[in-house]
Subunit: 412 residues, 2 copies
Amino acid sequence: MKKLVGNLLYGQSGGPTSVINASAYGVIKESLENQNIIKDVLMMKHGIQGALNEDFIFISKQDEEDIELLKHSPGAAFGSVRYKMADFNEDDTDYVRLLYIFQEYNIRYFLYNGGNDSMDTCDRISEYMKNVGYEVRVIGVPKTIDNDLPFTDHTPGYGSAAKYIINTIMEISCDMLAYPKGKVTIVEIMGRHAGWLTAAAAVATKNGFGPDLIYLPEVPFSIEKFKKDVEKVYNKKSQCLVAVSEGLSNSEGVFLASSSALKDAFGHFQLGGVSSKLSQIVNNEMRISSRNIELGTTQRSAAHLQSLTDVNEAILVGKAAVKFAIEGKSGIMVTIERESSSPYKVSYKKQPLYKIANKEKAIPKSMINQDGNFVTDEFIDYVMPLIQGENIPKYYDGVQHFSKMKNGIIKK
Amino acid sequence: MKKLVGNLLYGQSGGPTSVINASAYGVIKESLENQNIIKDVLMMKHGIQGALNEDFIFISKQDEEDIELLKHSPGAAFGSVRYKMADFNEDDTDYVRLLYIFQEYNIRYFLYNGGNDSMDTCDRISEYMKNVGYEVRVIGVPKTIDNDLPFTDHTPGYGSAAKYIINTIMEISCDMLAYPKGKVTIVEIMGRHAGWLTAAAAVATKNGFGPDLIYLPEVPFSIEKFKKDVEKVYNKKSQCLVAVSEGLSNSEGVFLASSSALKDAFGHFQLGGVSSKLSQIVNNEMRISSRNIELGTTQRSAAHLQSLTDVNEAILVGKAAVKFAIEGKSGIMVTIERESSSPYKVSYKKQPLYKIANKEKAIPKSMINQDGNFVTDEFIDYVMPLIQGENIPKYYDGVQHFSKMKNGIIKK
């Protein structure tokens, strides 16, 4: 293996998770342990946009406390972005610029932390640099609360979001059960094409306070079937708690709720409003009082209720990325392989970026019940190890503290 | 003081808080310490409705573990209700029934845990029993996340809801700041006529991740003023985080968002939708991307992020209610008097129920800034002691456990 000495450039991309900064922590720690190879660690301010604009945050300029707090800080401490790189065969402007920056700052390690879209960016950069003969090791660091990346047992960020959803929905359930004649409460959970997060709500049910019905994007949604399901539960219990994915669609694949006016940079529709729509149907067509709750961005940012397992894995994924890069690997994303569920044991492997870019992993059929309105025990067995342990923050005067990177943007 | 031997009847009423069950715990513990006077503790199932229907939960039949878990259980472990008692001069049906039940079960202590509306119920029952000469000591136990009861420095439930809102809005802020060009994010917080909860969001701002603007029901809301305020912040920061009370109304007192179709048993409009309405204004009229987040019922049920100060006070308020009753007091509600803020010290006092029933305490002018879009340091000094300490739950396999009262309803 050739020893490649130079600087490491790390960036965050796409929707934040509550542990993406823990992966940054892993990258930083592993880099600092290999200072004979990695001379300096630069963070892109707002992902690839920061790289193109020469907006960097230098780790060597930060306080130790802010680095340690990364394990407890939600959002994207270095800034995230949704930016789609063009095909370099059609327009290589950004790539030429990036090559200049890589040369200027002696970037030999490029680590990009994101989901499917970000792995596409990563893959394109890797290919371009190979084509022009610039030696740089490009590694994808996975993250997404959606848990929809292929070739990895799960993704960092999922376990914490799942834990937050489970515990929050138990609390919502308690609140609903307080009244003698309850409402039909519909909770909307993130997940565009994959229902992993919504499915997690079933753990709340296993613990006595959870949804009666769960609807996932993997199952074509029928409003008539939904009304029948709700009626059945309500007639029996005088209450009904429903968990729905934001990405529910009918048998033709048309989203139940979407605003065609709002598309993100990758052409995805911004979803939201499924629970409100269903709640109106229950109120108006079924004449049962209904309320809806959208859990919103707290799902991906609830640092105060992280899964310790998830935090530790996020750190180890970041470290593995640096290790693979030093070993000479490139054009790959780190994956998590589950060796066993009980006792829970994983190892860190890799897959080529092109296999992962822009692909989505849905919940397998065996994890969804026959009726298409709940999950099976196979799913419960899958998810339980991922929510174990708490990463309780230190509260100062009742309030959490988060990392604040010094000086923000440092231009060369 | 005459020693009045008999049974104690306790009920929960109105919207749950995350610590109302801690008050129940206080009532139970203090009663058990006075078994020479209080022979048995009966809990109404769903408040006054349970009393009228003879649906009781007997504490003597419960497991110790479920009693202890009350300190960590959200919702209303014994069931809540919204039920308006008639004026007994006009219709005494419910009162005659209640008198029969009191006699039948030898109820000599009647403790009712709720907000303004519940104190009205409590007051009416107290007056009726006095009129008919039935000896029973009637005590109101305060609770409401809204913090709007008069004659008490604050109410149990408020500190925990405030703590949850502060920490959650910090996380939402981090998530918003992740992107280079942020949105205008509008967070909707509970509070019909009083903005105490919304105001608490300012603590997040003091900690570096909070709203730029705060709008309270105490200040007549002007959409034009709001647009100017948002524009000013957005032009400077390219982002804007706004916290709004659900109960915003214009200078004529007309709610910004309300559905006239939905009124509760006390004739209050069910609110909600303010943030959605404002978000549409920002999107359509200001042409700035905006998203809205309604924190929903998690605000009042987030047991996993309780203020330890609040939990302990809720217990002590419950104990004080029993102590006052044993001392011979009746027709009163327990109040919390702040003796000093630094060091924080309170004592438990009392006020006649009629003074409290149906009244609401707004935020004083001195706690709101001149511009009417934020709070002053006086408010911060007021709220800080109330969010101190964490009542971290014990997680079992990553999940909280809540009280489950045995057998539910036990009919005589």
